[in-house]
């Protein structure tokens, strides 16, 4: 059994699986159940001046028969009194002292208001703070959440106020609704944050009911944009996590959030630079019990590779991401179709024919059937055929030797410059 313990900027937990600040961490009852199920830590549903919520609140995005490949919400922060939340936090911490409980906070941009909130919350035993500069709807209209997260100066300033007053590590949770995530992350670091977490939800409109023309979800016929999350946002989150992980000016640990559902997702976040992960949608979809498989799967993965602890893989593939200019122009792969596995749906053929480079041929066989054959000379190795193929491993992308040494665009441009 590998060592799954994780440590995010001094906040220790028995495993890297945390619940993100969201409905699953609304109450002590839920957090107790989550800890019983095995979650290593929770970020409590954002605390602040209690608000009033609307109904309805969520909408799911389905792809064919797959429910909730993403969801969005127009829910606000906690709608329960601060005292109630705090006494429940204390109870949970007493029951599960080894787990991490982080308090998510949101306030108006006033120093005293933040100091007061920090002071009150740290009267109970918590392991850290997470500053919610990410909520993209509702709260942002009142100058909070993403309204702060989109202004690096405000991020730095508020972070400073909190760090000054706090006894525990401070994590800054970032909004993805910016053009370059590194700027807010750097501001958090400048303000003294001990870690950053990302991503919060993405601005979105889930859809329109084509019968009634009501937006989805709607509140009495109207809606506002909501926050998008779940499996479909993972690639966006991975990119942002990695951008920050490779940026020396950020330089603080990262908690990865966005679309985590399986142990493979966890490994990907860790490899690209996250120290731990937080989960929301997957739990809203399936319940707390998914943590058992997250732990089991991660354990087996690490054991199979002889890796002793989770910490060892953090950032393991971070530097595999570089700029396009550094990619080897002389690396070539082509598609190979395993005729014995092929079920002749012709999806690769029509995809290549209509949307790629017309290099899959339908070759009539003596028996009258057709085989799909790649014209390797013209195949550009785009992967599209293997992506549309319904049979795993039927279309393999294999490397072919170009006989040329590795050369990036940067190198080629430089070489051409010398010549020209």
């Amino acid at each position: 059994m590998a060592d799954l313990r994780s440590n995010l900027a001094g906040i220790a937990s028995p495993n890297p699986f945390w619940l993100a600040s969201a409905p699953p961490t609304n109450s002590g009852y839920q957090v107790m159940r989550a800890f019983e199920a095995g979650w290593g830590g929770v970020v409590w549903k954002t605390l602040g001046t209690p608000i009033v919520n609307v109904t309805s609140r969520f909408a799911g995005m389905n792809y064919k028969q797959n429910k909730m490949v993403a969801m969005n919400n127009i829910e606000l922060i906690t709608d329960r009194p601060l005292d109630e939340n705090l006494s429940e936090i204390a109870k949970c911490k007493r029951a599960f002292p080894d787990r991490a409980i982080v308090a998510s906070l949101m306030e108006v941009c006033e120093r005293d208001a933040w100091r007061e909130l920090v002071k009150r919350v740290q009267e109970v035993d918590i392991d850290g703070f997470e500053l919610n500069f990410g909520c993209p709807h509702g709260m942002s209209e009142r100058g909070m959440g993403a309204a702060v997260g989109q202004h690096p100066d405000l991020i730095a300033r508020v972070t400073e106020w909190v760090v000054e007053a706090s006894r525990v590590p401070v994590v800054v949770k970032l909004t993805p609704n910016v053009t370059d995530i590194r700027f807010p992350a750097r501001a958090a670091a400048r303000g003294g944050a001990h870690a950053v977490s990302m991503i919060n939800t993405i601005n979105s409109i889930m859809g329109v009911d084509v019968e009634t023309w009501n937006p989805i979800p709607h509140v009495d016929g109207k809606s506002s944009h909501g926050g998008y999350c779940g499996p479909a946002v993972k690639p966006i989150a991975l990119n942002m996590v990695n951008d920050c992980a490779r940026d020396p000016e950020v330089g603080i640990p990262i908690s990865g959030i966005g679309g985590v559902e399986t142990w493979q997702d966890v490994v990907e976040f860790l490899l690209l630079g996250a120290s731990n992960v937080q989960v929301c949608t997957a739990v809203m979809h399936h319940g707390f019990r998914i943590v058992e498989e997250l732990a089991d799967g991660l354990n087996r993965y690490l054991d199979a590779r002889g890796i002793e602890s989770v910490a060892e893989i953090v950032g393991g593939a971070a530097n595999r991401i570089t700029t396009w200019n550094n990619l080897n122009l002389n690396y070539k792969i082509v598609a190979r179709i395993d005729q014995s596995a092929c079920i002749h749906c012709n999806k690769c053929y029509i995809a290549c024919e209509d949307a790629a480079h017309q290099c899959i041929d339908r070759v009539r066989q003596p028996g009258g059937s057709t085989n799909l054959v790649v014209d390797e000379g013209h195949c550009v190795g785009c992967n599209l055929c293997s992506m549309v193929c319904p049979v795993d491993e039927c279309i393999e992308m294999v490397r072919v030797d170009t006989g040329r040494p590795a050369q990036s665009w940067k190198e080629r441009a430089a070489a051409m410059g010398e010549v020209g």
């Binding site: 064919k64 028969q65 079920i343 749906c345 012709n346 999806k347």
Partner: protein, 447 residues
């Protein structure tokens, strides 16, 4: 037209639930140049109609189906899909082909329920075409000819359109409403219908051709022939098609007794077996179960009924006796009392495998009702009278389905050459379409 229609209990095959439809439609890969489409005699664009179901466009889906196959509603119920579209599905290898027939039924049922108008008649061409026979082939030809703008008159010997779909398939496999809805689609396009007219008897071919620019012969086959044994005239001996027809129209078949024998092993035999079993069960509620037995002179492997039909019959409690042929029907007071059978064995000869009686193996079975289901006779005399060349009652046609009389085309069971295979509705539909295309070319060329 509407007769009281007994459903005779549970349908042979229940429709899919909405959830099943969603799961199944979304499972379809939307293959390109899909093998299911190529395996369908009418080339329904299966991938397209299923994608439309998945997208919630049921009317569009039904149109794709019915466009390719004017008998799309009945085919969804009676096609041997395991040998056609589903047999060709790329998932077949995994033994989980998409349930194409059931999805087709779902889409077409929705159009039927919603009264969706699927097609329009074409701009009038001034040409007229007579269709002889309002079964699947004739209706398909008529439908497409109307869409091409030709004036069409269907001459139907019976009271209702639909042919065997209306009269000859048990209601729990193909309800009469489905067959009549398909016919209605054609009538709505402006096809004229003259029922209770038998061409060749009530109307001569020459008279027909004097009035119409072209004709389609789609008169199918005749009734079930005699077996050719003593006792067939006794009360209690039925022609399977007449039997099924009476059941389907709710006209009653009288008391069947407790021992029912069906002679033959095709799909019509299965229909006769399962419906007589259901009738006997309804009649004898509380009393003893009727024994319903199929007697076939060859073996299980030689049966022409579809595998799924045979399975269904087994589940319905039918008994099967292979390798025995009836020698004579024994009567008492003018009614059937027993049948004397003789055992047979297969002998391979030049013409294939023949069942030959083994003398000395005779045995007698007490029987109350006998149903002959040994295929259909050919309309030899009719074709002779019409002056149409045929081979033993199978109308001779060229590659465009034209008969030996110019301007007269043929489609459906009347051109179905005898073999071990069963005639299929879907092939009749395709031939109807082809005949319509040929006629269109013929008329436009200026006949």
């Amino acid at each position: 037209m509407a007769a009281p229609v007994p459903s005779l209990g549970e349908p042979f095959h229940r429709p899919l639930t909405h959830l099943e439809v969603k799961l199944e439609a979304n499972r379809c890969l939307y293959c390109y140049d899909a093998p299911c489409m190529n395996a369908c005699p009418t080339h329904i664009d299966v991938a397209s109609f299923i994608a439309k179901i998945a997208a919630g466009n049921l009317a569009g889906s039904a149109r794709v189906i019915m466009d390719a196959n004017p008998m799309g509603a009945s085919c969804a119920r009676v096609c041997p899909t395991d040998q056609l579209c589903e047999g060709a599905c790329v998932y077949k290898k995994e033994d989980t082909p998409i349930r194409i027939g059931d999805l087709q039924r779902y889409a077409v049922d929705a159009a039927m329920r919603d009264g969706t108008r699927l097609f329009e008649a074409g701009a009038p061409t001034g040409h007229t075409v007579a269709i002889v026979g309002g079964g699947p082939a004739g209706l398909s030809a008529a439908r497409d000819l109307r869409r091409m703008g030709h004036a069409v008159t269907i001459f139907e010997a019976r009271e209702m359109l639909g042919g065997l779909n209306t009269y000859g398939i048990v209601p729990f496999r193909l309800p009469i409403e489905t067959a009549l809805w398909e016919a209605e689609q054609v009538v709505e396009l402006g096809a004229q219908v003259r029922t209770n007219v038998r061409v060749g008897r009530d109307l001569a071919m020459d008279a027909l051709l004097a009035e119409y620019d072209a004709a389609v012969l789609a008169c199918g086959m005749g009734g079930v022939p005699q077996i050719g044994i003593p006792g067939e005239e006794l009360a209690g001996v039925w022609d399977a098609l007449e039997f099924i027809e009476r059941v389907k129209l709710g006209r009653g078949v009288g008391a069947l007794g407790s021992r029912i024998a069906v002679i033959g092993a095709g799909n019509t035999a299965i229909d006769a077996l399962t419906c007589s079993r259901r009738i006997a069960r309804q009649a004898g509620a509380g009393g003893g179960e009727a024994r319903v037995t199929m007697y076939y002179r060859r073996g299980e492997r030689q049966m022409s009924a579809y595998g799924f039909e045979y399975e269904f019959a087994k589940q319905e409690g039918i008994e099967f006796r292979f390798f025995c042929a009836p020698k004579r029907i024994v009567g008492e007071g003018g009614r059937v009392k027993a049948i004397e059978f003789v055992r047979t064995r297969l002998e391979t000869s030049e013409g294939g495998e023949a069942a030959v009686p083994v003398s000395g193996t005779e045995f007698v079975e007490p029987i109350d009702t006998v149903v002959r289901a040994i295929g259909q006779s050919r309309l030899v005399e009719t074709f002779d009278r019409l002056g149409i060349a045929h081979d033993g009652g199978v109308v001779r046609v060229d590659e465009n389905l034209q008969t030996t009389r110019p301007g007269v085309y043929a489609a459906g069971d009347c051109i179905f050459a005898k073999g071990t295979r069963e005639a299929m509705v879907v092939e009749a539909a395709e031939q109807g379409k082809r005949a319509a295309r040929s006629i269109d070319t013929y008329l436009r060329r200026g006949a």
